[in-house]
């Protein structure tokens, strides 16, 4: 499900970037925008087109959707494509405050019915994506998810061929994502556990959700491949607040590492807290980007809930490059426009919008028929030979629609700043785990 619950990670990125890049290069995005605006004057009639946004925008999931949508809006503000006036068609897939596949499918249908919509940013949740991909595929409308990480959406996973998600045109890609899939993040987790924390045994738990379970499964497999032993594999329903009995079980097993796949809202911070209560804070603890959601000062973040006593052994990963280009400029521009710090997925939303705008720039000149244009954009983005220079760095999409950027950043808890500290990043394309 999650790509990077990393509002703070981004903030951290921003700080680091400010410190070391010393603002020598001006914001390339801003300059691109300026040049585009300058050169776009003489193109004749301006075509009005839209970018669709399909994210959960209300209820408890608003913190996921809103900053991401803001990222898209920021991109449209800063970057202009000559000859086009790009506006937003905003949809919300939350019903009663909870993301809903039914609503997602309906939204993508609505977007497809709007002939001016050429591209969609979203969705946020994997099971919403599962409902939307068939619709987008049938409509030939390209979608770019900033946050989906469930591998099965694009590649064969668990025996399921992603072509079943594309019954109308099985060979036509209409869904790409800028997030690296969970299989790499799980592998990175195993890498940390075995090679950094030097653990030989691990207790692995998940929160029964798509994201958490996928992550934990990959971790368990890869940790065993590296030579470690998984002493117990647990699933804990996300609705629980009582982890005491699991922690007591953990105590009797005394593993060298604890890996918990899931998100903070499922109570993982609480698990760590109850570990500390039972005197187990010395056992290293790791999770995915679902727990990289801010410093101990961030409200309701993993670190805040877990409490900070003795958490120097806590690790997390983020499925993105740490060295985001121009992070500070981005953070500043975002802050200027929305008067808050960028959210977890703002940059990803921005990057998705950039993919669209660059594709539009490439195929759009002179084309005024919106239907042709929509298909051209789709075909351009689906073509693995094109690459994009974005807020997340330079990448292209492979034949499945996955990003070629296979970089995972490793973080560890820093007791002095009470925040995540960047440890290293690993490019799994250049340096695979096995």
């Amino acid at each position: 499900m999650k790509y990077a619950r990393m509002g703070a990670a981004l903030a951290a990125i921003a700080m680091v970037a400010t410190a070391c890049s010393s603002s020598s290069s001006p914001s390339s995005a801003a300059s691109a925008a300026a040049s585009a605006a300058a050169s776009g004057g003489g193109g004749g009639a301006v075509v009005n087109v839209k970018i669709g946004i399909e994210l959960p925008m209300s209820g408890g999931e608003a913190p996921n959707g809103v900053p991401t949508a803001n990222g898209v809006a920021l991109a449209l503000d800063q970057i202009k494509v000559p000859g086009f006036n790009v506006t937003i068609n905003q949809q919300d897939d939350a019903v009663n405050g909870v993301h809903n596949p039914q609503q997602g499918a309906k939204n993508i249908q609505t977007l497809a019915n709007d002939p001016t919509v050429l591209f969609v940013v979203g969705p946020f949740n994997s099971n919403v994506a599962q409902a939307e991909i068939p619709v987008g595929n049938a409509a030939g409308l390209m979608q770019c998810s900033p946050a989906n990480t469930y591998p099965g959406l694009t590649k064969t996973w668990g025996g399921v061929d992603p072509k079943t998600l594309r019954p109308t045109n099985p060979d036509k890609i209409a869904y790409v994502r800028v997030a690296t899939t969970d299989d790499l993040q799980g592998a990175a987790g195993a890498d940390i556990a075995y090679n950094i924390a030097k653990a030989k045994t691990a207790y692995v738990a998940d929160d029964t959700q798509t994201y958490g379970k996928g992550l934990a499964d990959v971790f368990a497999t890869d940790f065993a491949k590296l030579g470690g032993t998984v002493v117990k594999r647990d699933s804990i329903p996300g609705s629980t607040t009582d982890f005491t009995s699991y922690v007591t079980t953990l105590k009797s097993l005394n593993p060298g590492y604890v890996y918990y796949g899931g998100v903070t809202t499922s109570g993982i911070g609480l698990f760590r807290l109850q570990m500390a209560q039972q005197g187990l804070q010395t056992i290293p603890f790791g999770g995915g980007d679902g727990i990289s959601d801010g410093s101990a000062a961030t409200k309701s973040s993993f670190l805040q809930i877990a409490g900070t006593a003795g958490d120097q052994n806590t690790y997390s990963t983020v499925a993105a490059t740490h060295d985001i280009p121009n992070a500070s400029a981005f953070a500043d521009a975002y802050k200027a426009k929305f008067s808050t710090a960028p959210g977890a997925y703002s940059a990803a939303g921005y990057a998705c919008a950039q993919v669209f705008l660059q594709a539009l720039q490439a195929v759009g000149s002179g084309v005024t028929d919106l239907k042709t244009l929509r298909e051209d954009v789709r075909a351009y983005v689906a073509d693995p030979s094109h690459s994009y220079d974005t807020q997340l760095g330079k990448f292209s999409f492979d034949a499945n629609g996955d990003t070629t950027q296979h970089i995972i950043s490793y973080y560890g808890f820093d007791a002095t700043t009470q925040d995540w500290k960047f440890l290293q990043q690993r490019d799994f394309t250049a340096k695979p785990l096995f």
Binding site: M57, S58, G59, A62, D92, A94, V95, N96, G97, V98, N100, P101, Q102, Q103, A105, K106, Q109, T110, A112, N113, D114, S126, N127, Q130, A131, P134, V135, N137, A138, A139, Y150, G152, G158, V160, D161, T164, L165, P167, T168, T208, Q209, T210, K213, S235, P237
Partner: protein, 409 residues
């Protein structure tokens, strides 16, 4: 409901004034619809099927989306209409509180997923799966009901609530059989095999779905309203009113309640099959207790016991939820109201996201409805009688008490 089989509209002799005059003026029509109920149902749905897509072409509706959007939305609303009229059988007619209704919805959906998906490799046509889904859901309704329908109403409520939690939990955790939290994807699309020029329904054209759900609802309506005015329907109401008296009139209360349960479940099964086919995925978190409670709210708000009222209630609540609240946000934002102080809190209506208050609005609606208009927006005649108590009702309560004592040795 008026008009049972040629006996003419039962005005009850107590409807004076405008209502009486109105019903007299309409009586030929009412009498006709009383005699030809099913024909009326079909005609009504045909009219609805024509009017709804047309009306959205005009303002203010046309401002909220294209015709296709609206029709797609209506197709989704149809799922809830179907669920609501099914739950109405259980709650409104038989008086059994079922708080786990989504379980049968889930069972219908997963039945379709097993019958028509690459997951099992079986590809049974949608049309054949409709009755299968209904049957499987009904079978589970009986299996759940058989041991538990003996329980008193409140116990039944908690057992059904538990069942509503168990079923998604099983679909979630029995991951080898159900693909767990990822759900089953790539379900087959309905197809008419080139009949009327429609092959596979596909994902982009909402019209075949709209027509299909309309037809399913019309059939369900026809069958259910026939049941309401039959021996079985009377037995349900009798059980709801007084179970011992009903049993003493020769009604097998367990079988009758089981039938209500099974019929309600089968309607949910139909909705499940349709919804799974339309969405083309099933996953466990589509069926949590919110669905059960939402459908219950629809039934209560629409008017328990009145199948037309319940359907209207479901439709209204769904459209409010999927369109109304969003539009309310835009509308209030566009008014440019100034913010004001309410004690220590600054209230700025323009920044309030009404979508966040859906539960609050539901809750308030449920409470107020029960306090002020317990029979719902479109009550059935019988429910109105029941819920607006006359003074002698309290007396009746006393009488029942002493009867109960008398039964005790």
């Amino acid at each position: 409901m008026t008009g049972r089989r040629g006996t003419g509209p039962a005005t009850g002799g107590t409807a004076p004034g405008v209502r009486g005059r109105l019903s007299r003026a309409l009586s030929p029509a009412t009498a006709f619809s009383g005699r030809h109920q099913s024909l009326t149902t079909v005609v009504t749905f045909a009219v609805i099927g024509i009017i709804l897509p047309v009306i959205v072409l005009f303002p203010p509706f046309s401002g909220f989306g294209t015709q296709n959007d609206w029709v797609g939305g209506f197709a989704d609303a149809g799922i809830f209409v179907l669920l609501a009229i099914g739950l109405n059988v259980v709650v409104g007619w038989a008086g059994l509180l079922d708080l786990g209704y989504a379980a049968f919805f889930a069972i219908g959906s997963y039945t379709y997923a097993y019958g028509a998906s690459p997951f099992t490799g079986v590809h049974i046509p949608f049309w054949a799966m409709l009755p299968v889904g209904a049957f499987v859901a009904a079978a589970f309704g009986i299996l759940l009901g058989a041991p538990t329908l003996r329980l008193r109403g409140d116990y039944l409520a908690i057992v059904t609530l538990g069942f509503g939690e168990i079923v998604p939990a099983v679909f979630l955790n029995a991951s080898t059989l159900t693909n767990g939290t990822n759900g089953i994807v790539g379900l087959d699309q309905p197809s008419l095999g080139r009949l009327f020029g429609v092959g596979d329904f596909g994902f982009t054209n909402p019209w075949p779905y709209f027509a299909t759900i309309l037809a399913i609802i019309a059939v369900a309506f026809m069958l259910l309203s026939r049941l309401e005015n039959s021996r079985l329907g009377r037995a349900w109401v009798a059980i709801r009113e007084d179970e011992l008296a009903a049993a003493s009139m020769g009604i097998n209360t367990v079988t009758t309640k089981l039938l209500a349960f099974a019929i309600g479940a089968s309607t949910a099964g139909l909705a499940g099959v349709y919804s799974a086919a339309k969405l083309s995925i099933v996953s466990p978190d589509q069926f949590n207790f919110t669905v059960s409670f939402t459908v219950l709210a629809m039934v209560v708000l629409g008017g328990m016991g009145n199948i037309w009222g319940v359907a209207a209630g479901a439709f209204l609540v769904f459209e409010l939820q999927s369109q109304g609240l969003k539009q309310l946000n835009t509308f209030i934002g566009s008014l440019g109201l100034p913010s004001f102080q309410l004690g220590p809190i600054t209230v700025d209506l323009a920044t309030i996201n009404f979508l966040n208050y859906q539960y609050l609005l539901y809750g308030l609606a449920l409470v107020l409805m029960m306090l002020l208009r317990p029979e719902g927006l479109f009550p059935s005649r019988r429910r109105r009688r029941e819920l607006h108590e006359s003074p002698d009702e309290a007396e009746r309560g006393n009488v029942e008490l002493s009867e109960a004592e008398a039964v005790e040795p």
